[in-house]
Amino acid sequence: MSQFDVLFQPLNINKLTIRNRIVSTAHAEVYATDGGMTTDRYVKYYEEKAKGGCGLCICGGSSVVSIDSPQSWWSSVNLSTDRIIPHFQNLADAVHKHGGKIMIQISHMGRRSRWDGENWPNLMSPSGIREPVHRATCKTIEVEEIWRVIGDFVQAARRAKEGGLDGVELSAVHQHMIDQFWSPRVNKRTDEWGGTFEGRMKFGLEVAKAVREEVGPDFVVGMRITGDEFHPDGLNHDDMKQIAKYYDETGLIDYFGVVGSGCDTHNTLANVIPNMSYPPEPFLHLAAGIKEVVSVPVIHAQNIKDPNQAKRIVEAGYVDFVGMTRAHIADPHLIAKIKNDQVDQIRQCVGANYCIDRQYQGLDVLCIQNAATSREYMGLPHIIEKTEGPIRSVVVVGGGPGGMEAARVAAERGHKVTLLERNEELGGQITIAAKAPQRDQIAGITRWLVMELDRLGVEVRTGVTADAQMIRDLKPDVCVMATGGRPYMDQNPAWGAEEGLVVSSWDILNGKVEPGKNVLIYDTICEFSGLSAADYLSSKGSLVEIVTDDIKPGVGIGGTTFPTYYRSLYEKEVVMTSDFLLEKVYREGDNLVAVLENEYTGQHEERVVDQVVIENGIRPNEELYYELKEESRNKGQLDVEAMFDIKPQPILSESGDGMILWRLGDCVSQRNTHAAMYDALRLCKDL
C-alpha cells in the first residue's frame, strides 16, 4: 500500500536477487587504507547503507587490478594482492547480514592517474596520449603488457569472488583502460588492438572473456559504460549503443551501468557527477537508449535524489535500477525512511559535491551536510538515540547550519532545546549562498534542518538578537554559541569600507545593495562566494571583473564545480583577473577608482567602476561568547582530546552550577559548513 512499491520489486542480476531497485553505484571512497585494504571505516560505511536498506552497493570505485595502476592517490581498493581477500570477507558479511548485496568495481585506470608517487610507474594507454585532467603523460601499452593486465583483471575477479563479494563491475567508463581502447580519440593503434571497431573492442572483450572463464557462469560480471562521451572525436550515443549491443551479444555481461558524458577534460568531468546546477537526471535518456539494445538489466545514476523521481524512472521502465549514490552519501537510511513512511525525513543530497571534490583532491569522501557518513566506525550515529542521562535545557544561539545541527542533535537526544536567531529566517550563510544563480539547491541543507527542528519540537525564536542577559534568563544547562561571522572588509583600511566605498558579497547576494553597472569584485578567498557574487551580478546585467591576488578566481572550488561556474561566467563575459592585489579604492566624481597592484611585478593598474565588492572572508561574531565565557562552568573551553576522539565532553558527567558554554562554527574561525556541522554533531551526540 505504498506509492513506492515499484522500487521494492526485487530483480535478479544473473542469479543474484537484489531486494529493491536502488543501488549505490561505484564511487572512489578514499577510505581504503593500509595499502588499499577495506578496513574498519570502509566496512562500517557500507554496512550502514545495507542497514539502511540499500539493495545493491557497488563499492570500490576505480579499484585497481594492477600495481602499475596506482591506488594510493585516492586510497582506492587494491585488488592486485591476495592480501585483500580476508578484508573482503568482513565487508561481504557486514553487508549480507542486513540483506544487502555488494560488488566491486575493478579497473586498470591506464592514463587516468598520476605517476609521480607510490611505485613511480610509467602510466600506460593505447596510444600514449596525455590525459589533461590529471596532467598525466603515459607510454603506449605493449602487447605483452596488455595480456598481463588482462591476467590482472582475472586475478582481481578471483579475489573478489573468494572474498565473498557478489560480483565485479568492469569499469569501461570515465576513461579507464577499457574505454581508452574503445575511444578513437585516445586509441590510434593500427594493430589488432585498435583501428577497426572490432580492434578497439578487443581489449575489453578479452578481459570479459577471461574474467568470465575464471569466475564461472553464476558470478555477476557487470560493465559500466558511458552513454555518450560528448566529444566530437569521441564515442557518441550511437557508437555506445553499438558497443553495448556488441558486448551484450557475447552473453558475458550480466548488467550494464550507464553514465552520461566522457570524463577526460575538466568540462566533461563536471557532467559525470552533476552538481546542483544540473536538472534532475540529465542523462537518463542515454541510459534508456542503451537499455533499448541490451537484454540484461541497466543501472543508471546521475542526479537522482528523490524517491518520487526514482519511482517515476523505474515505473516508466527507462532503466531497471536507479543509482542513488550521493543520495546515499547524504543519507544512508534513505530507503529505510521510504519504507517507514518518513520520506520527508530524508536528508536529501543537495549536489554541493563536497564529497567528490574532496575525492579529486585525494581526500576522504565526506558529505557537506552529514558528518556521520563514513565516520560510523568512530561511533558517530546516523540515528541518534535518546539520552538515558539527565534531560538538559539547551540554548543554541545562531541558526546557521552549525547551530541548527546542534539543536537538532540535542533535540534528538531528548533535551529541551531553544534556538535563537537574529534574522527572520533560519539558515545563516547558507541562505545567502542560495541566492546565487544555480546555487539555490544548497538551501536544501537548512530546509531539512528546519523541518527536523519542527518535527522534534525545538523552540525556534527568529528575529531575536540574543544578549547575555537573555541567555542568563533562559538558565540553560548548555549554551551552544554558533553566531557565525560578518564580512571582513576592513582588513585594509584603504579599501574604504569605513567610508562606504565598498560593499560585501553578502549584501550583493542578499539584494541589500543594488547591483552596479560596472563592478569590480575583489576576491581573496577564491571559493564559491566570489564566483557566486560575480555570477549573480552578471546575471543582473552588470559588467563584472573579478580580481584575485590568488592563482585564479575560483581556484579553491573543486573539479566538478568550477566548470559550471566558468560556463556561466564566460558566457556572460565576466573578466577573470589573477595575481592582482587591491591596494586602495577612492571616489572620483560619480565613479570609484580601484587601484590594483601586481603581486609579482608591483606594477599598478587602475579600474574605473561604479561598484567595488569585497570578498575577503569573515571575522567571527564572538562578542557574546566573550561576555558569557567567564561565568560559564567551562570558561568556554572544549576538551579537544575528547572531541577528536568522539568521546563525551568530560564536563557533562561532572556536577556543577551554571551553564556549560561551547562555541562552534564560524564564530570561532572561518571554516566551512561541514566543519560547523561536524563539531555540532560530535559535541551534541553525547549531550
Binding site: M1, S2, D5, F8, P10, R19, H98, G99, G100
Partner: protein, 637 residues
C-alpha cells in the same frame, strides 16, 4: 361461592392462554430453516447452562445477578407451588409456607429491579420493561395474601368478597404479565425463549467455558445464499432473537454505536423479533440506530429484511468485533446474523457498498484484497533469507505471512518477527507466492463463495508440506486457519497442526529462554487486544506476559481484555466505510491516551494501521514483535 374459586380459575385460564401463546411462538420459530439439535440433551443441559454459563455473564453485574436469581428463582418456585396450593388444593401448611417464602424472595428481587428502574442506565429499554418490576411485585403480593389462609395465618374467607375481587385483579395483572406475557410477546417472553435458547443454542460448544467463533459455512448449493428474509435464518437463530431482554449490554459495548454509525446491536435483534413475528418497531422503547428514527421499520417472516426492516448501512457498519456477543447475557449471536444478511446482499444482490465490490473483485482476480500482482507477494522477503516450503518441503514452523506482505508498514512487523525467529533458531519456512489471502475479508463481507474457494486452495497448498505449527502475525488469518478452515479440511491438511498467533509463539520462545531480551527502557505502555486475537481466540495473556518479560507493567485501558474496544478495522468496515460521527480508531486512541501511555503495543497489522491512522499527537503504535526486536540481546560474534 363462585368468587372464591375465581383466583384458581383465573390461574388456569391464564396458564392455558400462556401455553397457547407459547405454542404460537414456537410456530413462529419453526418458520425458520431446519437445523439439527439434540432436543432431549439440550433440555437436560439447560438448567446447568442457565446456572453456569448464563450466570457467568450476568455475574459481571453483581447487582443484576442477585436480583435475577431472587426474582427468577422465586418466580419459578412460587409458580409450581401456586399450582400445588391454589389449583390442586394441597392443604399442607408447610407447602403454603414454602410458597410464602418463595414469594417473599421474589418480592425482594422485584423490589430491587424496581429500584434500578427508577433511574435506569441509557442502555436499558423502557416501555413495557418499566412496568415489569411493578407487575412482578403485584404478582408476589397478590399470592402472598392469597396464601395467608392456607398457611394458617389468616382464617379462610377473611377479607370477604371485596378482597377476593381485588386479589383476582392482582392475579390477572400478575399472571397476565408472567404467563400470558411470556407466551404472547411481553417482556417475560425472555424467560421462555431464553431457556429454550440455552437448550437449543446453535453453538453448544460455547457452554462450559468453550469458545465457538468461526462463522458457519454457507451451503453454496442452497436456494438463497445468505439470509434475505427472517424465515431464512435457522429456527434456533430466531429463537435466540426472542431471548433478548433488551438489557442493552451489547449496545453499550458496540464501537459502531459509540461512533454514531447507524448500528445498535440491541435494536438489530429487536428488529429481527419484529421480523419474525411481523409488524413494526413502533413499540420499541430503546435507543435507536444512531441517526435513524424509530417507528418506520416494518417486516414479516417472509419479507426481505433490507426492504424496510433494517437498512443496509446498519449491516455494513459492523466490525464483527464480537463485543456484543461476548457481553450478551442471553448468548445471542449478533455477528452470525449480521454476516448472514450480508451474505445475501453480497452474493445474491452484488450490493457490497463503497470499496467492497472492488475489493472482492481484487480478491477473486489476484488472491489479495488490494489487487497486487500475486507474484509480488514475497518481494518483502527478498533480503530475509527465508526458506520457501516449495523447496524445503518440511519445517517445524510454517510462517503464514498474510497480506501484510504487500504493505510497507506491515512488512516492518514481518521483518521484526523473522528476526526474532532467526535469533531463536526456529526452523521456519513460508509458502511464498503459493500463499493466498486467508479469505477473512471476503467472508466478513459476505462473500462466502470466495472465502471457501480461497480456503480450499490454501488447504490444498498446505496439504503438500509437512510442518508442526502454523504461526502468523495476523489475527484475522489466525482465526480463519484455526477456527474456520476446519470445515473444509477434508484431506486433513491441518490435522495435528497447532495454529498459533505470533505473540503466543514468541512467548513460548521467551519463556523457554530461546529468546533473550533486555529490559524495555521507554515510557508507559498500554496494550490493545485485537478482537480476533482476544474475543475470537481467547488469547489475552501471551502478549501481556511478553510485555511483562521486558519489565513492562502494562497500563491497562478501561476497555481491555474481553471488553477491549475494536480498533475499527475488522469485518471489512474500513472498506464498506459507513459514515458516523466519529472514527472508531480515534475513540480507541483516546482510550489509550487516557492511560498516559507513550506507546500502544498491539498484535495485529490491521490494528497498527488503524491506530497509526489517528492524527498526531498520539502515542506511538508498535506491534509486540517490533518492541521485542528492539530489546534483543544481540550476540556478539
Amino acid at each position: 361461592m363462585v368468587i372464591d374459586w375465581l383466583p384458581s380459575v383465573l390461574i388456569v385460564v391464564l396458564l392455558a392462554l400462556g401455553v397457547i401463546g407459547a405454542l404460537r411462538r414456537v410456530s413462529l420459530w419453526r418458520a425458520g430453516q431446519p437445523e439439527k439439535v439434540n432436543l432431549i440433551a439440550g433440555l437436560l443441559a439447560m438448567p446447568g447452562r442457565y446456572l453456569k454459563d448464563l450466570h457467568h455473564v450476568v455475574e459481571r453485574d453483581k447487582y443484576m445477578s442477585r436480583t435475577h436469581v431472587a426474582t427468577g428463582g422465586g418466580f419459578v418456585l412460587s409458580m409450581v407451588l401456586v399450582l400445588v396450593v391454589h389449583v390442586f388444593d394441597v392443604n399442607e401448611q408447610i407447602v403454603a409456607w414454602a410458597l410464602l417464602g418463595a414469594l417473599l424472595i421474589m418480592l425482594t428481587g422485584a423490589f430491587f429491579v424496581f429500584k434500578r428502574r427508577l433511574n435506569p442506565p441509557a442502555r436499558l429499554s423502557k416501555g413495557p420493561w418499566m412496568r415489569l418490576p411493578k407487575t412482578l411485585m403485584i404478582y408476589a403480593l397478590t399470592f402472598i395474601v392469597l396464601t395467608l389462609p392456607a398457611a394458617g395465618i389468616l382464617p379462610e374467607g377473611a377479607g370477604g368478597v371485596v378482597l377476593t375481587a381485588v386479589l383476582s385483579v392482582g392475579v390477572v395483572i400478575g399472571l397476565g404479565e408472567l404467563l400470558f406475557g411470556m407466551g404472547w410477546g411481553g417482556p417475560m417472553k425472555h424467560a421462555f425463549a431464553g431457556a429454550l435458547h440455552l437448550a437449543f443454542h446453535r453453538r453448544p460448544e460455547r457452554f462450559g467455558g468453550g469458545r465457538s467463533t468461526g462463522l458457519k459455512p454457507v451451503n453454496l448449493e442452497g436456494d438463497v445464499l445468505g439470509v434475505a428474509k427472517p424465515s431464512d435464518f435457522k429456527w434456533n437463530q430466531l429463537l435466540g432473537f426472542d431471548a433478548c431482554v433488551q438489557c442493552g449490554k451489547c449496545q453499550a459495548m458496540c464501537p459502531a454505536f459509540a461512533a454514531g454509525q447507524p448500528l445498535n446491536p440491541k435494536k438489530l435483534i429487536q428488529d429481527m423479533v419484529v421480523g419474525l413475528a411481523g409488524g413494526t418497531d413502533a413499540n420499541y422503547a430503546g435507543s435507536p440506530y444512531p441517526g435513524k428514527e424509530v417507528g418506520n421499520a416494518k417486516g414479516g417472516p417472509d419479507e426481505i429484511i433490507t426492504a424496510g426492516l433494517v437498512s443496509q448501512e446498519t449491516l455494513w457498519s459492523c466490525t464483527t468485533c464480537r463485543a456484543c456477543v461476548e457481553e450478551c447475557p442471553m448468548m445471542i449471536e449478533h455477528v452470525d446474523a449480521i454476516v448472514d444478511m450480508r451474505r445475501f446482499l453480497t452474493m445474491e444482490k452484488g450490493e457490497t457498498p463503497n470499496k467492497g465490490s472492488e475489493v472482492l473483485e481484487n480478491i477473486i482476480a489476484t488472491d489479495n484484497p488490494n489487487g497486487y500482482a500475486p507474484s509480488s507477494r514475497t518481494n518483502w522477503a527478498a533480503d530475509q533469507n527465508l526458506a520457501v516450503m516449495k523447496e524445503k518441503q518440511e519445517a517445524d514452523v510454517l510462517f503464514w505471512v498474510s497480506d501484510g506482505a504487500f504493505d510497507m508498514r506491515s512488512q516492518r512487523i514481518l521483518r521484526a518477527f523473522v528476526k526474532l525467529m532467526k535469533h531463536a533458531n526456529v526452523d521456519v519456512a513460508i509458502l511464498g507466492d503459493e500463499e493466498r489471502d486467508s479469505g477473512d475479508v471476503a467472508r466478513r463481507l459476505g462473500d462466502d463463495a470466495t472465502f471457501q474457494s480461497l480456503a480450499k486452495r490454501n488447504l490444498a497448498t498446505l496439504g503438500q508440506y509437512k510442518f508442526k505449527k502454523i504461526v502468523t502475525t495476523d489475527p484475522h488469518a489466525y482465526h480463519c486457519l484455526r477456527n474456520e478452515y476446519g470445515d473444509f479440511d477434508t484431506d486433513g491438511a491441518l490435522a495435528g497442526v497447532e495454529v498459533l498467533h505470533h505473540t503466543t509463539f514468541l512467548n513460548q520462545l521467551v519463556q523457554s529462554g530461546a529468546l533473550k531480551l533486555d529490559a524495555f527502557k521507554g515510557g508507559k505502555v498500554t496494550y490493545h487486544d485485537p478482537c480476533y486475537l482476544g474475543r475470537y481466540n481467547g488469547e489475552y495473556e501471551a502478549p501481556r506476559e511478553l510485555l511483562r518479560s521486558l519489565g513492562i507493567e502494562v497500563a491497562e485501558m478501561e476497555r481491555s481484555g474481553f471488553r477491549s474496544r475494536c480498533c475499527g478495522g475488522g469485518g471489512g468496515a474500513p472498506i464498506t466505510d459507513i459514515p458516523g460521527e466519529r472514527r472508531i480508531a480515534d475513540m480507541r486512541m483516546e482510550d489509550a491516551s487516557e492511560t498516559g501511555a507513550e506507546l500502544v503495543a498491539v498484535g495485529c497489522q490491521q490494528c497498527t494501521a488503524m491506530l497509526e491512522g489517528v492524527v498526531e499527537p498520539r502515542p506511538e503504535v508498535k506491534d509486540i514483535s517490533e518492541i521485542l526486536v528492539d530489546q534483543l540481546v544481540e550476540e556478539v560474534h
